[in-house]
């Protein structure tokens, strides 16, 4: 079920040809149009499972009769990983397609660009995947809500675990851009708050996507830390793990690692998955709550593939949108915002709330350890870390979010 503009136009034209102009009017009032933007060609490994996720959600919602008696119609666009293209496409969706709201984005800068467009043009925007804290705090505003747990939340989940460890000497390795810098900043701050005795003895800042893994591993080993906080992901992570495994970096050291338990990042490690890393992630094959089980089965049936984190995010994004519209009783932007503040959604991970204070969803993540099973990486000893427990106190949030409208 791929919904695209041309298909829709062709469909509308055919309808118009058959039934005359009034049919278009009817067709338009019959669906609720939602504009969706993501980096499909740039980072397909993450965005294609995400697309599957939202397509499943939309299918389910429409099969159950839609929202407010109308079906959802998604018009999806590829931003090619460029914020400037995303802004143009946002304009197209709003002005040409007359969508009632915008959703999507994976990369933080693209998310922020669309968010800023939404603020300027007073359009509701549901940021699906971008992690940057700025989305809901420094650059947060009335029109933007965010589903996925932020950099801060994920770092806080791991800082909690790290503070329990007997480790006193930490090293960090992180891609040198905003996400990596924020993750390290929060991790340091939160760990040191609980454990004033720990030291950070080395920092490595490989360029995103261009890690010189052998040299980086060697440099960390040289500082001889007891624990390593890793923020690298994707190909950087695989390179880092391979060089680290071969050079024995991880032996006798604890590694705490952001996002590494997500199938998107864990699966490519294959039989070289390092064991015993403390990670945030998504043990898709082991969560057997009835809600998740139903989701997993529906997903596997429809796509003949297993769900990734992106699939859940895509799925929850559109479930949340549907819930917001339903609660608002209309597609009016102001009504949607009012409805979304404090909106509770019963998701596949459990219930979560869109906080009124900063529009951040309290969707959580799973924290556990990595292990090898049948030649592939899995998460073990995991627990669900509810997002609501990993957010700073309200007064701190208010300070970090200047836009109070």
């Amino acid at each position: 079920m791929k919904i695209r503009r041309r298909d829709f136009i062709a469909g509308a034209a055919a309808t118009a040809a058959l039934a005359g102009a009034p049919a278009i009017v009817r067709a338009q009032s019959a669906t609720i149009k939602i504009g969706e933007i993501n980096s499909y060609t740039t980072i397909p490994a993450f965005t294609l499972p995400y697309r599957n996720g939202w397509q499943l959600a939309v299918e389910e919602i429409n099969a159950a009769g839609g929202v407010l008696g109308r079906k959802l119609e998604v018009i999806s666009r590829d931003d090619a990983g460029k914020p400037e293209d995303a802004v143009r496409l946002a304009g197209e969706l709003v002005n040409n397609e007359k969508v009632v709201l915008l959703a999507g984005t994976f990369l933080s800068h693209v998310g922020l660009a669309v968010s800023d467009y939404a603020r300027q043009n007073k359009v509701y925007f549901m940021a699906a995947e971008p992690l940057s804290d700025a989305v809901t705090w420094a650059q947060g505003h009335k029109y933007c809500f965010r589903l996925r747990p932020s950099t801060y939340m994920q770092a806080a989940m791991l800082a909690e675990e790290a503070a329990k460890l007997p480790v006193k000497r930490w090293a960090t390795v992180s891609p040198n851009y905003e996400y990596g810098q924020s993750a390290v900043k929060w991790f340091k701050e939160l760990v040191q708050k609980k454990r004033p005795d720990v030291q950070f003895v080395a920092e490595q800042w490989p360029a995103l996507g261009r890690i010189d893994a052998g040299a980086t591993v060697q440099a960390i080993a040289q500082a001889n830390p007891e624990g390593i906080f890793n923020v690298t992901f994707g190909p950087d992570l695989t390179n880092f793990v391979r060089q680290g495994n071969t050079r024995g970096l991880f032996e006798g050291r604890v590694v705490v690692s952001m996002l590494t338990g997500e199938p998107e990042y864990l699966d490519p490690l294959g039989d070289e998955t390092p064991e015993g890393w403390i990670v945030t992630g998504y043990p898709w094959d082991q969560i057997d709550t009835p809600v998740h089980k139903a989701f997993r089965e529906a997903y596997q049936k429809k796509f003949n593939d297993y769900p990734r984190v992106g699939s859940v995010v895509g799925y929850e994004t559109f479930k949340s949108i549907a819930a917001a519209i339903k609660k608002a009783g209309s597609t009016d932007t102001e009504a949607l915002i009012a409805a979304s503040r404090g909106l509770v959604v019963d998701g596949v991970f459990g219930p979560y709330t869109f906080r009124a204070i900063d529009h951040q969803a309290t969707l959580g993540a799973y924290v556990g350890k990595t292990a090898l099973k049948n030649g592939r990486g899995v998460m073990v000893d995991w627990r669900y870390a509810d997002g609501k427990d990993y957010l700073p106190p309200d007064d701190v949030v208010r300070q970090m979010r200047p836009d109070t409208t």
Partner: protein, 627 residues
């Protein structure tokens, strides 16, 4: 000490990897003068094919080394196919036009790879017997890296033997020095070129396949390697294999040791080298080119322009009919808001901004003969100039739009001073180096530039905030800018610039200070690119490092080449066609890169002088005049 040795060995292994890719690029350039943008694609295909041959054939597999070898040859054959089908037809086109064709190949390969191998990163197998590590001075060092350390020099040695001990090698070296001479010797040039392309592609494929035990196979491999490979080739000296190895060694070791350099303070600013991992190779390139304009071991080569045998057409005043077409286009643009709708206006605004951006690049590329691979630097400096003025000094839009070209112009003055001392591809690569330095500052200096999250809230002033008003603002400024550039091209300054391009010797001999004129032109182009960047910032409401990135520079290059570098209307036509195609295709289909790539290839084959160039020829032929 032991640690230093391990770090040094690590650097050696990285150097070998870099060298394999770069050597192929260097060989291809040396003989054919083709700047092969698709070389990164060959590297990526080598990795993907290697992965398939080693682990995933439907019936059994070829083992690790068999798979690597098969991938190497397969990529070589793909290279041959591309050379025969595509590049061979356009050797006579203007310098660097082949770049456009190879860029089309890059786009096509990206989508085909995604379609064949899927989106997920693939984990390559380890090499048999080389999985573990050995102990060197108490440090564990991967066996496979040891192998890589050996592979680089071995390939270097084999290439040396090939070039110095075989007739074919002698011919290739002769062709690198002087292509016409080889033609005069009665050698089948076509066969020579094809075989060189085969060798170059094989080396890229081998480089990719040998990465299997080190790196995952990803869809981003092509673009992540290509810039590095270019840097290595240029630092070493184009066409010099030994130079490429030396450069790879220099850059890899520098990167390895930068990671462990302790922070130090210069003029009160703390410098953390281990954080500046993006720029060292580009700084090395800039320094090497400034000190040695032909790279470490490169030699001055015959001007590539002479080799193509193309005579630059005379620039004549536009015929009355063309002026009418121009006026009609302008009239359409003026009246467009009546019919375009809000989104149409957004797209039109973007296109008129790109017209100015492309025209500014054309100004130095066409009349100036200076190809820039880093024109986005000035676009980005303009955009950041405007955005920083708005954010940090609360400047109104009008002031920011004055500051934008000034900031870019300043960059042009600074970088241009170095750039005009070089020529040809070296010049182009120095512009790229400067652009990458600007980009990495924008990307990594988070406190000032916001890093990759950019600067938000750069929206137009109240009076220009609706799409109509902003469109007219952009239209007026961009058309005025493009017309002014056109005016300059026809004025003495433009003539002097062209004189320096046509014959630097003669120009100097009639008192034209060629370098100074080029410097002025470079600054001028930067100014207008900056204005375009400033307008772009306000049209988008935000500024990001992507504005300074290589793809943005490539876009400008594509627009100019597609339109036709030898015609003044070329960049305008190119910008409209390229931006329009991109906008339409990206909404039409997921496989827009494939279609855009194919469209570029078709256009390249159909209009080797660019679209406007072809139109001009057709026009003058119709009139029976000599163009």
């Amino acid at each position: 000490m032991d640690f230093v040795v391990a770090q040094f060995l690590t650097g050696l292994a990285s150097a070998s990897s870099l060298f394999l890719v770069a050597s192929g690029l260097s060989i291809i350039f040396g003989v054919s003068r083709i700047v092969n943008f698709a070389h990164g694609s060959f590297y990526m295909l080598g990795a993907y094919l290697g992965w398939t041959f080693v682990t995933n054939l439907p019936y059994g597999h070829l083992g690790f080394w068999g798979g690597v070898l098969a991938a190497t040859v397969a990529v070589g054959l793909i290279g041959v196919a591309i050379e025969i089908v595509l590049l061979r037809r356009i050797y006579a086109a203007p310098e660097l036009f082949q770049l456009l064709a190879t860029f089309g190949v890059v786009l096509v390969v990206q989508d085909l790879t995604l379609a064949i191998w899927g989106p997920q990163d693939l984990l390559g197998p380890r090499a048999p017997g080389l999985r573990g590590a050995v102990e060197i001075l108490g440090q564990r060092f991967p066996r496979y890296e040891l192998l890589l350390i050996v592979v680089g020099p071995v390939v270097l040695g084999l290439l040396w033997l090939l070039f110095h001990r075989t007739r074919w090698g002698t011919l290739v070296r002769a062709a690198t020095q002087d292509r016409e001479m080889v033609g005069a010797l009665g050698v089948d040039q076509k066969l020579l070129f094809t075989s060189v392309f085969f060798l170059g592609a094989c080396l890229a494929g081998l480089g990719g396949a040998l990465q299997l035990p080190r790196e995952p196979v990803t869809l981003a491999m092509d673009l992540s390697i290509i810039a590095d490979a270019f840097v290595v080739v240029v630092v070493g000296g184009m066409g010099s294999i030994a130079g490429a190895y030396l450069a790879a060694l220099l850059i890899a070791e520098l990167q390895a040791f930068m990671l462990v350099a302790p922070p130090f303070t210069v003029l009160g600013i703390e410098i953390v080298l281990s954080k500046m991992t993006l720029i060292p190779s580009f700084i090395v390139m800039a320094v090497v080119l400034i000190v040695r304009p032909y790279g470490l071991l490169g030699r001055p080569m015959a001007h590539a322009r002479a080799v193509t045998g193309m005579i630059e057409p005379v620039v004549r005043p536009a015929p009355r009919e063309l002026k009418l077409v121009g006026l009609a286009t302008l009239a359409v643009l003026l009246l467009a808001p009546l019919a375009a709708g809000d989104y149409g206006l957004i797209v039109l605004t973007e296109i008129v901004i790109f017209v100015l951006f492309a025209a500014s690049l054309h100004f130095i590329m066409g009349p100036g003969g200076m190809v820039s691979f880093g024109h986005a630097a000035y676009f980005g400096l303009g955009a950041y100039g405007a955005a920083l003025a708005v954010k940090h000094f609360a400047a109104p839009m009008s002031v920011a739009l004055i500051l934008a070209p000034l900031a870019a112009g300043l960059g042009g003055v600074l970088f241009g001073w170095f750039v005009v001392r070089l020529s040809g591809v070296y010049l182009a690569m120095l512009t790229l180096a400067f652009a990458q330095i600007v980009w990495s500052i924008a990307f990594q200096w988070v406190e000032v530039t916001g890093g990759d999250n950019g600067i938000l809230g750069v929206w137009p002033a109240e009076w220009a905030s609706n799409a109509y008003a902003f469109y007219y603002l952009a239209l007026v400024l961009c058309v005025a800018g493009a017309l002014l550039l056109r005016r300059i091209i026809y004025a003495p300054l433009g003539y002097a610039l062209r004189a320096g391009r046509d014959s630097p010797l003669r120009a100097e001999a009639i008192g034209i200070p060629v370098a100074r004129i080029q410097w002025a032109a470079f600054t001028c182009a930067a100014l207008f690119a900056g204005l375009a960047g400033g307008l772009f910032a306000f049209s988008k409401g935000s500024v990001f490092p992507t504005y300074v990135s290589i793809p943005r520079s490539v876009d400008a290059l594509m627009m100019v080449l597609l339109g036709g570098v030898q015609t003044i209307s070329g960049p305008i036509v190119g910008a409209i066609v390229y931006a329009g195609l991109h906008e339409q295709l990206s909404r039409l289909t997921d496989y827009w890169r494939l279609i855009l790539g194919l469209a570029i290839i078709v256009l390249v084959l159909a209009f080797p002088q660019g679209i406007a160039g072809a139109a001009q020829r057709w026009w003058y032929r119709g009139k029976g005049e000599v163009a």
